[in-house]
Amino acid sequence: MKRIGVFVCHCGTNIAATVDVEKVAESARHLPHVVFATTYKFMCADPGQKLIADAIREHALNRVVVAACSPHMHERTFRKAVERAGVNPYLMEVANVREQCSWVHRDKPVGTEKAAALVAAAVAKVARNVPLESGKLPVERRALVVGGGIAGIQAALDIAESGYHVTIVEREQSVGGRMAQLDKTFPTLDCSSCILTPKMVDVGHHPMIEICSYSEIESVEGYVGNFEVTIRRKATSVDPDVCTGCGECWNRCPVKKLPSSFNMDLGHRPAIYVDFPQAIPNVPVIDRANCTYYLRDGKCRVCEKVCPTKAIDFTLEDRLVKERFGAIVMATGFQTASLQQYPEWGLGTYPDVVTGLHFERLVSSTGPTEGKIKRPSDGKEPKSVVFVLCAGSRDEARGRSYCSKACCMYSAKQAILLREKIPQAQAHVFYMDIRTAGKDYEEFYMRAKEEYGVNYIRGRVAKVYPEKDHLVVRGEDTLLGRPVAVEADMVVLAAAIEPRADAAALAQKVGISYNRDHFFSEAHPKLRPVESNTGGVFLAGCCQGPKDIPETVAQASAAAAKVVQMFSKDALVSEAQLASVNEAWCIGCFLCQPVCPYKAIQPKEIEERRGRDKIKRTVSSVNTGLCQGCGACAVACPSGAMRLNGFTDEQILAEVDAVCL
């Protein structure tokens, strides 16, 4: 016998102001199987939950409908509440009478009518619900961190410090990422390397951390707690077990003039190189595309000759290493926009127009100019530098609507550094708005303006063009309402922060979602900001959205906490609302297989009786460890054999009928 209880929440006045909750409860009392209905001010609060539990006992309820906020908010809360009272958590349905009703209506009778309809739908559905059970999944207590920037380093250290093994996969020769390229950091102006390199050394030496640098993710199989990841370890041509990092090879390599990507192509590196002097691991790699040995059939071999430990091995090849991990932290960072859509600013056309990251290398003491600010074209010290904010950001028309968040602050910092290093130089900043939300940020910006005399001009830059030996920056001062032209020896564009060019491809490999700008999507923008939509995959740093260093570090630690939380359990509880196959109906067409984002569908051979014969045929089967219950397969299935438990056709149709009939 189905005995349904309906609990209508006031949500303070959130619901009660636009919905007559008593009327909704009253109308629910007349619905089939409903034996009890009541209202309460805050159903999610402890007394509210107790009210549900008491009613379950008192009225022998075996199914529950809670009319309250979105199930996104409190479905879990109420499931737990009914479970504690002895009802299977999947025999509870939430009718969303807040987001889908009270918040979108003003007219109380209309809101009340709709709320009653939504409750009727939930009652119709819950009457057809069946108890579902979660399974248990084992956990492989090893974490993979993709990306060895500050986000990856922080996450790896936090996980390793909790006692779990971590592998960092880094594409470049060394960990360090963007932060290693920066000179000073706002708002304290402490040196980026000085605070980063100790952490790099920590990951390099940590017994629980393995660094796979010069490596990339080839493929990801498996599921939460049990990922199987293939890592491509690119051929370095140097045996890391033998190399001491003495530097003989890179100092003596005759190919010296290759552009150094670490220095944003402003400096040079040899064909055998480490990214920068403090590189971790301090083992060089050979850039095979530019090494004489590989280009000219085994000629040169200077590095091999000078290496005191015979670490050079030209015959090394890419290796594919398969490893198992329980959790993955994505920390792939960002790149700055190429600004090809903005030819008027001349990035790439005029050598003295650079991005903020270029400028960092020009101020850095480890940079190509050893910290003396020189303009790229002729090495002259600039006497006037124009900083352009929102370069490529906040421009819906040309592709990026978002704010890159860090630029206001780092441009202020760069202007301060310029004024400190070249006191007679002028710093002009073109801005749309200055955004300094952050501890001590506004003060820092005011210092730039007042103490360092940085000239802030509100307006967009229309054009940058060369004149004699300098550049002219034309724009409009929108505060004065008149056009301005500023002479500049250098123009620094605060180019938009965007995800790495291959972020979307990587997201597809790992099986996580991303937004239209290719930033990885968090599971919930407020309440689950470091989890991806895929179980066991967490996000840290700029791959999820633009952010500065403190935010990145905080998010990385949060992601690490999530990983540690997972690893601290004996087993994982698997999702109960999963897809399942009605084998009798399945025709084995496998249209479900390619649409499954989690690779959860496999063929399975079954035996069937056909008249007097026993026949064998192939049908789909769902791996409950991999399935995340998204339901794509159920939609694709042409014969209706695939169903999503908890959202079956019968249940959905019952809801529709309850609303429409």
């Binding site: 025709i587 067409c589 249209l591 794509a632 694709a636 014969s639 019968e650």
Partner: protein
């Protein structure tokens, strides 16, 4: 096996369509229908396939007392192939019978026209039968004759037999009178607008490639329907749908319908109620058409078998036109390993909803 015909080796390997390469049509062919040696060669071919154990069953046609209506027949031994026949009255699309052989332990030969062959390929692509289990004996089809058109041309007289020539047919009545009518006047409607009369995939082919008839009549009718107001269109389909007796013949013959439990037969939920009202009639027709869209090979067998003459081809072709315009995919059944764009997911898909 006749010297002129050679079968290609069955394709080895995975039954997954994505893994299959398009089998090339063998260069050596059998004689064309119309050639005096054709039927003998076809029988020889089928006989030796059975005799040599290449196939354990052949699905083809057999003569009946009504010379305008040969029947589908299943040949299990070489001796039986003596009454195998293939003429211009082999209207039935036999590919659907392959479904009865899903679990048959052996290979099956099918004698197919261009339209039937697309059905075979679609069944392979829908993973209902592995490619290497089917021997496709293809015939480049000169067009099939509609027995009803012949009978109406003969008027009151009983037709005893029809002799088809390349451009005209000779109708001989029981009384012995002979009359000659142009071929086009008795061809089936679907053949009059057939663009793909040749089997796209086959192991043996009889006849040289046919050009087909490129009539735009169907698409003109679709354009006309598209120009109608929605009320006019609703009235148009209502007129047709209200005749539907839900015999499900359209579904039963369709090579894209391969579900073991059809949505229309399901009880819980009962998608299609029994009552014959406008909503249910529309629901059945539209659901059927949408269900097969993107997999409909355009064989128009549903249209041919409909006992109440609903122009199903218009619905199917309209849906095909839309799928083609949106996804630029080949006609279903013309290529091995192609799955319907409507059930595939690709990040590069057209997204016209944005």
């Amino acid at each position: 096996m006749s010297e002129a015909i050679k079968t290609a080796a069955p394709v080895e390997g995975e039954p997954m369509p994505a893994e299959l390469k398009t089998a090339e049509i063998p260069t050596r062919r059998g004689p064309a229908p119309g050639d005096p040696e054709f039927l003998g060669a076809l029988r020889d071919c089928c006989r030796s396939l059975l005799a040599e154990g290449h196939v354990q069953r052949i699905i083809a046609y057999r003569e009946t007392p009504d010379s305008l209506r040969p029947e589908v027949a299943f040949f299990a031994s070489p001796e039986e192939t003596g009454d195998l026949v293939w003429d211009l009255f082999c209207n039935t699309n036999i590919c659907k019978y392959l479904l009865d052989y899903r679990t048959f332990e052996g290979r099956i030969g099918v004698v197919v026209k261009g339209c039937d062959a697309r059905g075979v390929v679609q069944l392979i692509n829908d993973m209902q039968i592995p490619r290497d289990k089917v021997e496709i004996i293809g015939i480049c089809c000169p067009g099939q004759i509609d027995p009803a058109k012949v009978e109406s041309a003969a008027g009151e007289a009983w037709v005893s037999r029809v002799v088809a020539g390349p451009d005209s047919v000779e109708i001989v009545t029981e009384e012995g009178t002979e009359m000659r009518v142009p071929l086009e006047s008795v061809l089936t409607d679907r053949c009059l607008s057939c663009r793909k009369p040749n089997p796209p995939v086959a192991d043996v082919v009889f006849g040289e490639d046919q050009k087909g008839r490129i009539s735009d009549e169907v698409f003109e009718q679709i354009a006309e329907l598209e120009r109608m107001s929605s009320a006019e269109r609703d009235a148009f389909w209502n007129r047709h749908f209200e005749r539907c007796i839900r015999c499900f013949a359209c579904r039963n013959v369709c090579p894209a319908c391969s579900c073991t439990k059809c949505v229309f037969d399901q009880q819980e939920p009962d998608w299609l109620a029994g009552e014959r009202n406008q909503a249910n009639q529309h629901f059945f027709q539209i659901t059927r058409a949408v269900h097969v869209s993107g997999r409909c090979t355009g064989c128009e067998e549903c249209d041919r078998v409909c006992p109440v003459g609903i122009p199903l081809r218009l619905m199917n072709k309209k849906l095909w036109k839309d799928v083609k315009d949106l996804f630029d995919s080949p006609l279903p059944g013309t290529k091995l390993g192609v799955r319907s764009p409507l059930v595939m997911w690709d990040p590069k898909d057209a997204d016209s909803f944005e």
